[in-house]
């Protein structure tokens, strides 16, 4: 495209992922006294194993 750079598409796949919700991924504690993690910092662990996780 000439005017628009596509960074990422459909990073939230409603139909597929909602059905698979296992909630095994890390719990995102948002407290500043840890690392104020948010779901934006998480990965889906059924698709990608994190090397380590950090609260």
């Amino acid at each position: 495209m000439k005017f628009i750079k596509v960074v990422a598409t459909k990073t939230i796949d409603v139909d597929d992922k909602l059905a698979k919700a296992c909630r095994e991924c890390q719990t995102p504690c948002k407290s500043a006294c840890k690392t104020s993690s948010t779901v934006g910092n998480q990965v889906c662990e059924t698709r990608k194993k994190p090397k380590r996780f950090i609260w």
Binding site: I4, V6, A8, T11, D13, A21, T27, W55
Partner: protein
């Protein structure tokens, strides 16, 4: 930047597209010469821009339908536990929410019995969950190292079918070399608190007698982090009103040799001299812009580092179900005080209104109304302000403890925290856009 919130599609825009969208979104009925006049673009350019936008709409990446999931608290079961093993600290940091570690009570260390009962409680409540998480917290948790070691050994031996994931949040002052192999053997992720170089750190992180802590901890933290070149730690700083130049602090931490860095805004009551104010937002934005430039510059020079809040995984992020529930406080995540009392999270430790039970008593949980309140408050769309926020699927609804501390209710977001959160997410998206190669929209 253009973010299609429901689908999570992200685009970086030419300035001409940005102006075009500004004009037509302000008045969707506008067309033809009016658009040309207000955008300053010629007809050919507008046609090309509209063609590109149309491609994205057809591909289902732009102007997608907003989703409104229904609330179902039954999906939330306990899987993370904070063991507050020490209501005591050898530091007296000026911004400490825990009142120098004693949580406004008597100093106390958790016993092995309480810690083991906490593990039993977590396993019982977590049911079929395979992954379970335990964070050793304080005060300064290394004041109770023997209990930490015993607890991890107990967890592995008593419940070998669970995948145990331990974290430790420490000020680093009591780290010893003989602890390193134990932390490694148990795969413990470590959060080390350090606010920057001596100037930034010692502004707020001080001993009980007021002396700065930097010189006492820097070599200990360095010795430990050298054993983790591939990750497994974050050096985590806090910025407050007197240390607002946090981009410089991150640069200092990187210069000190740390590769995994996080920097957090302090949360204090508005009347505190160190509390961030709404009037600080322009400065905070400028700091993120400075940090982005430094981060990308170091990345480009081959000396890159991890900044926690820039770690957005656009390829393998969490599912929508995860994104519509928050931190899990009081349902997926709870905290145990040294005396065994259970609270929704470590920041609620000692708030009797939110005491949920005690791990030494059966049944442990005896306050279903707090459980129900927390389950509801975790639902993203239960908070009016969150439902229409562009950052909702990255933030998932803010920190319940901060909400409670600043507004007196779990359901009313901490407004300044939201504004800072959005600055942070926007910065992360900008970094992702800069890192990203051009992609085909298909």
């Amino acid at each position: 930047m253009l973010l299609d919130v429901p689908s999570g599609s992200i685009f970086s825009l030419d300035e001409r597209v940005y102006h075009y969208l500004q004009v037509v979104l302000a008045d969707p009925s506008m067309e033809g010469e009016s658009v040309q006049r207000l955008t300053g673009l010629d007809a050919q350019t507008i046609t090309e821009i509209e063609g590109e936008l149309e491609q994205l709409v057809v591909a289902g990446c732009l102007f997608t339908q907003a989703t409104q999931p229904t609330e179902d608290g039954s999906v939330l079961t306990l899987k993370s536990l904070c063991l507050n093993v020490a209501h005591e600290c050898n530091f007296s940091c000026t911004y400490c929410f825990a009142h120098g570690g004693d949580y406004y009570g008597d100093t106390m260390l958790m016993t092995r019995e309480v810690a083991r009962a906490g593990i039993d409680f977590l396993v019982y409540e977590s049911g079929v969950h395979h992954n379970v998480e335990v964070d050793f917290f304080g005060g300064e948790p290394l004041m109770n190292w023997d209990v930490i070691v015993d607890t991890m050994a107990y967890a592995w031996s008593a419940y070998p079918l669970k995948k145990w994931r331990f974290t430790l949040t420490t000020n680093g002052s009591l780290l010893r070399d003989d602890m390193f192999p134990v932390l490694e053997a148990n795969d413990v992720s470590v959060v080390l608190s350090l606010d920057g170089d001596r100037r930034a750190n010692d502004a707020n992180r001080v001993f009980k007698d007021g002396r700065g802590t930097f010189d006492a901890i820097i070599e200990r933290i360095r010795r430990f982090t050298r054993t983790r070149d591939e990750g497994g730690y974050f050096v985590r700083g806090t910025y407050a009103r007197n240390t607002l130049a946090f981009a410089q602090s991150v640069r200092e931490l990187h210069t000190l040799g740390f590769k995994y860095i996080s920097m957090e805004p302090v949360v204090l009551s508005a009347d505190s001299a160190l509390a961030l104010q709404t009037s600080d937002l322009p400065a905070i934005r400028a700091q993120y812009e400075e940090l982005i430039a430094y981060f990308l510059s170091e990345l480009g020079s081959g000396a890159g580092f991890d900044f926690f809040h820039f770690k957005l995984d656009l390829e393998a992020g969490p599912c929508l179900s995860k994104r519509i529930y928050g931190c899990g406080a009081g349902v997926e995540y709870m905290a145990v005080a040294p005396n065994g009392d259970v609270f929704p999270c470590h920041q609620f430790d000692g708030v009797q209104e939110y005491r949920m039970g005690n791990v030494l008593v059966s049944p442990v949980l005896n306050c279903p109304e707090v459980l129900a309140e927390c389950a509801h408050a975790n639902f993203l769309f239960a908070k009016e302000e969150c439902g229409s926020c562009w950052a909702r699927f990255y933030c998932s609804g803010g920190c319940l403890a901060n909400n409670y501390a600043t507004t007196g209710t779990l359901l009313k977001p901490y407004a300044l925290g939201c504004l800072i959160q959005k600055e942070r997410i926007e910065a992360a998206l900008v970094v992702k856009a800069a890192e990203s190669p051009e992609k085909n929209h298909d």
